[in-house]
Every structure is written in C-alpha cells, then in structure tokens.
C-alpha cells in the first residue's frame, strides 16, 4: 500500500516539475512548483518527518512561492516577451540534462546502499520534540548564526529595494 502512495507522489512531483520547466507562462510555472512542493511534503510525511513536512509547506509553499508570485505580478510581463533559446542551445540543454540523469542513475545502481536498512528505523526521530532537542543542544550555535543570516538578508533586501541608493 505504501509503495503505491510513493509512486503516486513521485509521479505528481516529476510531472509537475517538468511542467515548471516547459510552461510558457511564469505564473503557471509557480503554480506547478507549488504542486511539486506539496508532493515533496507528502514524501516527508511518508518518511515520518512530520515537523519538516509542516515547515516545508509553510516556508516553501506559503512564503517563498508567494514572494515569487508577487515579483511576477509586479513585473507584469506578457507571454511573448520571452523569446526561447536557439534550437542548438535547447538541444544541448536536453543532452546535458539527460547525461547528468544517466550518470546519477548509473552511480546509484552500482552504489551499495544496504547500510541504510529499514530494519530498525526509529519512527519518532522526525517529531518536534526530538528535532527540537537536537537543534537546541548540538546545533545551537548554527541556529543562532542563522538569525544573523536573516538579519543580513533583511538589511540587504531593504537596501536593494530602495529606489535611489545608486
């Protein structure tokens, strides 16, 4: 039963990821990307990472994608404004992407992943309680540093967004 759920979510994720790349209208791309993110959140739930699933939906589908939509709304481009690349560039892009995929899949096939067994999986490591304990004991310093990162990003965005700074 679970494997069917896995295949279903993977199918949605891959199809909507492809549609992100190929759709002409940027708003459609954003909406398909939100769909991909929801499928990935479903994968997180499947992997017993409930906290990350919630954070993923809130941060990515909630905050980041709304930011993208706002920027697209402000830029107001019409659909024919984006000329596509030359056929040679598109051909090279397809070949390069395909070769990367083949390389990764080939590497996975010869890679021995038997160390990652499901025999003694702890189902409780993804809970808020457990992650909070790890985050605030072992990773306390990086956690505080990330607040500095956010402050820097905020200052930078305000500086970039002001009109007459340059």
């Amino acid at each position: 039963m679970t494997i069917y759920l896995f295949y279903f979510l993977s199918f949605i994720a891959i199809i909507s990821a492809l549609l992100v790349v190929v759709s002409k209208n940027p708003v459609n791309s954003v909406l398909f990307l939100i769909m991909t993110f929801f499928a990935i959140a479903g994968h997180y739930v499947l992997l017993n990472a409930q906290f990350l699933a919630a954070v993923h939906v809130i941060v990515y589908a909630g905050a980041i994608m709304v930011l993208f939509l706002y920027v697209i709304m402000m830029m107001n481009f019409n659909k024919e404004a984006e000329p596509s690349k030359t056929t040679l560039s598109q051909f090279i892009a397809v070949i390069a992407g395909g070769i990367l995929l083949i390389t990764l899949v080939g590497a996975v096939r010869v890679f021995d992943v038997r160390f990652a067994t499901t025999d003694n999986v702890h189902t409780a490591i993804g809970t808020v309680e457990n992650l909070g304990k790890v985050l605030f004991s072992k990773f306390l310093f990086p956690f505080e540093i990330s607040s500095l990162l956010f402050l820097t990003a905020m200052v930078g965005v305000v500086l970039l967004g002001k009109k007459n700074t340059y």
């Binding site: 679970t2 990935i40 941060v59 996975v108 990652a116």
Partner: protein
C-alpha cells in the same frame, strides 16, 4: 508500525536524481531569470528529500536538522535574489538572461 518496510531507499535516490536533473535541465533551457531561480529551488528540494530519506533510514535526526537549515538559507536566498531581480528589471526593463551578460556597464 513501520510503513517504510516496503520502500527501498534506492527509489528515493532515483527520485531525487530525477528531480535534480529536471532542475538542471530547466536552468540550461530557460531564459527567464525567475524560472531559472525556481529551477534552483527545485534542485535544493531534491537534495532536501534525499537528506530526509537518509536521515530516516539511518535513524539519525541530524539530517533533518540540516534540511531545516537549508530551508532557512533558501528563504534568505530567495528574498535577496528576488530583490536583485526586481532591481535589474527596474534598470533594464527585462529579466532575460541574455541582456544580463554585460555586468560591466
């Protein structure tokens, strides 16, 4: 209750590889800088998924903490990147990457 018993981790690795390749493909294919940005997000998410999968299969919570930090960095990165793109759009009237190749003037 172990629902993961029937899903080998190879499937997760394959799914992440496919998603990552689609992201690379999009970066190479498109000319709109915003779409390229979204494809970068897609690649980040492929890596996140792989980290969570290995974290769960090895019963180690540190991978999920890493994913949490990646999400924080991605949020900051998107804010700064979109601010830069809006400024570029204000100055050049376009977000086509073909017109962004003259950084010197």
């Amino acid at each position: 209750m172990n629902t993961l018993q029937h899903i080998p981790i190879n499937l997760y690795i394959l799914l992440s590889a496919v998603l990552f390749s689609i992201g690379v493909f999009g970066v190479l294919l498109r000319r709109n800088a915003i779409i390229i940005f979204m494809c970068v997000e897609l690649m980040l998410n492929a890596v996140n998924l792989l980290l969570v999968a290995f974290s769960t299969y090895l019963s180690d919570a540190e991978g999920q903490v890493f994913v949490f930090f990646i999400m924080a960095v991605a949020a900051a990165e998107v804010a700064v990147g979109l601010a830069i793109l809006t400024m570029i759009y204000r100055n050049t009237g376009s977000v086509d990457i073909e017109v962004l190749n003259k950084l010197k003037n």
